[in-house]
């Protein structure tokens, strides 16, 4: 059975006619063309498919689009505003926090939610926030460094403003 879903993705209103059981991950990738969100494990373990729903990290492989109607969905494609990279994206690129890059979208969005809640997290807090996102390339070191650098820069921006 197909249903019509109306989603707010990255500030745009999008509609799709999809089987009711199709996951948010599949609808984003296949129906809305937002392939920045990736398949990893498909059972909610690896965090690769993370998107933000009303600012909170959600595993899109376990979410159904009908449950996210009326919410603000943010994918990696919506993270840079007006062509300006988010400080997390800037720091990840500068510090080599993305190697193969496949887990990167999910980690960036999880970190975005963390910094929105805790602008100056400790390293342990960053580790705990990202414990649900597997990365097989980096050993996490550069990722943690990049989140810390972005937090520092965002704090400075805030102070200036």
């Amino acid at each position: 059975m197909k249903v019509r879903v109306a989603l707010n993705v990255n500030g745009e209103s999008r509609e799709a006619l999809v089987p009711v059981h199709k996951t948010l991950l599949e609808v984003l990738r296949e129906d809305l063309g937002l392939t920045g969100t990736k398949h990893g494990c498909e059972l909610g373990e690896c965090g690769t498919c993370t998107v933000l729903v009303d600012g909170q990290p959600v595993l899109s492989c376990l979410a159904l689009p009908v449950d996210t109607e009326g919410c603000r969905i943010t994918t990696i494609e919506g993270m840079a505003e007006g062509g300006r990279l988010h400080p997390l994206q800037q720091a990840f690129a500068e510090l080599g926090a993305a190697q193969c890059g496949y887990c990167t979208p999910g980690i960036l969005l999880t970190a975005t939610a963390l910094l929105a809640e805790r602008p100056s997290p400790t390293r342990q807090e960053v580790k705990e926030a990202l414990a649900g996102n597997l990365c097989r390339c980096t050993g996490y070191t550069k990722i943690l460094d990049a989140v810390e650098l972005a937090a520092l820069r965002m704090g400075r921006q805030e102070a200036r403003a």
Partner: protein
Amino acid sequence: MTKNDFAVIGQPLPKVDAWAKVVGETKYADDLFLPRMAYGKLLRSAHAHARIRSIDTSRARAVPGVFAVLTGDDLPRVKFGILPVSQDEEALCIEKVRMVGDAIAAVAAVDEETAEQACRLIEVDYEPLPALMSIFDSLAHPEVRIHEYGDGPNVHKNVALQFGDVDAAFAGADLVREDVFYFEGNTHLPMEQHAAVAHWASDGKLTLWSSTQTPHYVHRVLAKVLDTPAAHIRVIATPVGGGFGGKTDPFSHEIVACQLSKVTGRPVKIALTREEVFYTHRGRHPVLMWIKTGFTKRGDITGCHLRTWLDGGAYGSYGAASTFYTGVINPVTYKMPVYKFEAARIFTNKPPCGPKRGHGTPQPRFALECQLDKAAEQLGLDPAELRRRIVAEPFTKTANHLTVTTIGLGECIDKVVEASGWREKRARYGVSAVQAKPPSHKKGLGIACSAYLTGAGTAIYWNEMPHSGVITRADRSGGVAVLCGATDIGQGSDSILAYLTAEVLGIDPKDVHVHPADTSLTPVDLGSYSSRVTLMCGMAAIQAAERLRAAIFKAVAQKLEVSPASLVARERKIGVPDDWDKALPFARAVELGEALHGVLAFSGSYAPPKRAGKYKGGGVGPSPCYSYSACVVELTVDEETGTVDLEDVWIGHDVGRALNPLLVEGQVEGSVYMGIGEALMEEQVFRKNLHKQPSMLEYKSPTTLETPEIHTILVETDDPEGPFGAKEAGQGPLLPVIPAIANAIHHALGIRIDEVPITPDKILKALELKRSGKPARVGPGKLPLFTFKEPIVVESAFGQPADAVASRPFA
């Protein structure tokens, strides 16, 4: 050259593809959607070993939305495999399946769900055969044959090499140790599942986009198994979302996607599920090892004899090479004057093992480094000092005729010893320490070292052609295109090509456009394996860029009326240093060059120096140069629960030269991380013929919380073989981590776990043995009854000087 002579090399620059990756723009294979594209699915065997009596696809064909159904009968009857000596795989099995997960039939349909549904309707009539699920099983049942080829019933490969008289070496030793170790297999677990999109177009030409580390080998295999001229096939490696060796074989799903595209007249995508990736495997071989080593009182090695038994799984894959790799690299690290090595790879009815980061070498490294720790304890020597004493001599040959160039291992050991506070902590921590809080938490410190090759010295198929090629083309805009068959799997090969080209031409890496891994556009690079890409593509890129620079210099020299030798290229300009005001912009210089020579496109080629030992088997092990690593691990073990908490890892790595220290550190940190997973939790194990944990939920790998602080120390030795002196960094640093952890656990608790992964149950068992006064060791005891081949006996080349001049083809 010193660091200050470089503009780009040695700078911690972002990767050239970093920006696309942080905004989600990078297109991995599964991100490709082509018009009219169909979705393919494979029906896989539910039996570990069975004859196929018949396959009925009629019900699947009748499903609405199904475009095509294939069985092995719809493909040319040609077997394939990555190595010429092991052509034992079928894209779709015809007569027999050899493991759960073997592909039998395939469906292309309007969507994945329909294809899956149709697969379930295919009826296969199996005649089950006994499943052989371990080395012991397979050797005990020669009457059951998994394959008809090999070096004996269920023996894929049986090799034996001897360099010098080991018996005499043991007779002259003060201490001779014999130890037995077991290394459980584990898998790569890349975050990206393998995917392929095939388009067999109406002009009869085939294009395959695939998440592969070896597009060139896939190209060759497709031509063979599809019975189609290679000239009409184009393979494009998409950016790979993690490889680690798991995407280095040609795979069934790639071949089937092509054939499905041919019969449907549509592009076809096959994306593996996570469970399929676990069964596709090609990961770390489970290896049982016996190692006998003689030592003098001061810790010098008099000789070493190693036996390894590899559980190969159901197919050859890279296994013939893996078998040699369990033996040939050990003599590269320490002074080992005499060496004997026997190895056998056994077929079992499990997913085939192959190359995983470190290919065949982490297992014997674990054995050797744990044995060194035991010997140091017995001899009353500090394990760091023992190793420091016996580091191999640079620019010499090993017992097994490998040529070693620079060695920075001594410096690596010194630096990790210093940074970790080794001496003080070794005295303060450990089994006899009293300060533990709570008392059940015991701290320990362990050390281990390693060496690894920078690219295999011989190609997978014998040929006299380059291993790596580059075409560099300058544009009138001042931009430079670099075409190279190398595959970026996250290690940064695209970036390295841009940095080296920019360095030689005096331009910015941003001015360089790298076009990788497309068999119709790019010169061959053999693939992203054996840590070969930075060195081999790098050398080819430097050669191409230097040829381009020479052509441009000639034109600029005419214009400025100076000699070409007086010119330099830097800051996007070309001119005479003493008269820099007259220097021409690079783009203008390109125009002059093009006016003088015509189109400015130059090639670079690289093949390693020919140094294979002159004995059968001498082709595995040679490398242009070897990297070295030393690792100290600090950890706490809870005696009550057996859990290990890693605190810090110090790793010193001799990378020759860090072309980009940020990227090198990233490779080292990633290697350490992967070693930790293998040491403490990861295992590819089976129950009732099925993978015990074929999902990311069950297959445990380290998260941020299990990964300790990793302190990376880079050592530079400026190797004459590498591009600007660089050696490998992506695999070697994994090797010492595993034994360093085992040795630290021994320091903490006085127990020996001679088997990885070192799980809490093994630690508790060893502690129980210790309490009851028995030897506090958990590990294998039994060895297979097996007759190795009569060894090929060769004089040891230990200590001979390296060839004065290495002659390289195409140099």
